[in-house]
Symmetry: C2
Subunit: 240 residues, 2 copies
DNA sequence: CCAACAATGTGTATTATTTACATAAAAATG
DNA sequence: CATTTTTATGTAAATAATACACATTGTTGG
């Protein structure tokens, strides 16, 4: 044993941890949807009097023997009735005064789902979809959390195929482009957009066409996640 | 007030929060350095008997009225004596059994510093630099945390100018390239690497040359962070 | 039924970026 | 002063991004 290691080892880890301070821990889900060519987010009215009338993200405390991902999954299941939803941890928020009831640290999750895939069953607290673009004040630091998750999504959607979670399984290229334009807040050239996606070669032509559309229907495609996973590359190239 | 809002408002937020379960919360810092053309990480021996001989990240509990960023800053200051160090939150880790002493959720931070800028003053618990590449077992889930932060760094360094935090203020292009090659584990063409960085136009020629090098000395450059901040662009382009 | 309309679907020329590759010049070494 | 090592730079070819135009298909309304 080297001379420098003269530290007494701690034998009782449980005793050690008991001496640690504790905090209240929650998860908050930023649940995005896409409808009417607009990015939407699912919110409820806050039930805290301090924030009366303000909109709030869907969240809950993390249970005693529950992982963060599981807590977020649970929130999603309880509120939308859906399992297997796209859900990723984004960031922890820890401002000391972020909750009027005391010290509450929260971990934000970003969730993407197809609005049409589920009906809002329980609409307690006026649970419904809001247009992200026009959303202003919110309860707690939830606007800050929403902004962080939206930025995360904007960046992420350019590099990873997660936008498809916001669309039906079969979608037209126009729908896909509308999605990107709405999220990134840009206008894209239709021809170059198609070229780009076709050249990636992950879109499968289903042979089906759009229905209930009052003009020439477009082809419907599916995203081939398997193929994408297999051909995923690490190196992008230095650029900033 | 709409008919759907029949929820009783909670008036006493403090009382509400008191009913929440609590967890122990820590931060763990993955402190990267660069030396001998290798990416290094600063570790100590775990002082838990369970993990005797295993290496551990530098971490600490989050204090009662302390934000996560502040806690990470404090860990860094206490261990390296340095302030104003590059430090970013990466991810929360919450496996229920990740700590033998009980439920401890941790938030991982990635830190980048120039090894030469500080001397390891306090070398308790054999605090020293380890080569990332050859590191195997670690205490707790710290290997998993390290891997996550390393992946984060690999991706981040391609899109943001954070690598410079690992180098002295004035550096040669060869040093910069060595850094990228070490972190990304690739070989890069020297000519194209230079061309790329010069075309970004953020490198300032200091007019100085390398010293103490036993061959033709290279020019020393500085990174112009101000200019970068001003010209930062949002749109990258869809590609995955 | 047919003309007007609206959106889909495709191609090409231009420009910019990335990649591959070779040689000259400067300093250190013996 | 010749040798060695590393810096420094340029150019051609391939690839990718952009800008842009027209034919096609189905819908709608007269």
């Amino acid at each position: 044993m080297p001379a420098s290691q003269k530290v007494t080892m701690i034998q009782d880890a449980v005793q050690l941890v008991k001496g640690y301070p504790q905090v209240h821990l929650t998860v908050d889900c930023v649940i995005f949807g896409f409808d009417e060519n607009k990015l939407k987010v699912l919110l409820i009215r806050s039930d805290l009097e301090t924030y009366q009338g303000k909109w709030s993200l869907l969240g809950d405390v993390v249970h005693e023997n529950e992982e963060l991902d599981a807590a977020a999954d649970r929130v999603l299941l309880e509120r939308t009735g859906m399992t297997n939803v796209y859900l990723k941890q984004v960031q922890a928020f820890s401002r000391v005064d972020r909750h009027p009831g005391g010290r509450v640290v929260t971990v934000a999750y970003c969730s993407l789902l197809n609005i049409r895939d589920h009906e809002l069953q329980i609409t307690d607290n006026e649970l419904h979809w809001h247009t992200v673009k026009t959303l202003k004040e919110m309860a707690f630091d939830h606007k800050e959390i929403l902004d962080a998750c939206y930025s995360w999504l904007q960046k992420r959607i350019q590099e990873h195929p997660l936008g498809f979670n916001l669309l039906p399984e079969k979608f037209s290229l126009r729908e896909l482009q509308n999605l990107y334009e709405a999220i990134l807040n840009v206008e894209l050239d239709r021809r170059n957009f198609r070229k780009k996606f076709f050249s990636m070669d992950f879109l499968v032509d289903t042979g089906e066409l759009e229905t209930d559309v009052k003009h020439r229907p477009g082809k419907l495609y599916q995203f081939n996640f398997d193929k994408y996973e297999k051909s995923k590359r690490k190196w992008i190239g230095i650029d900033f």
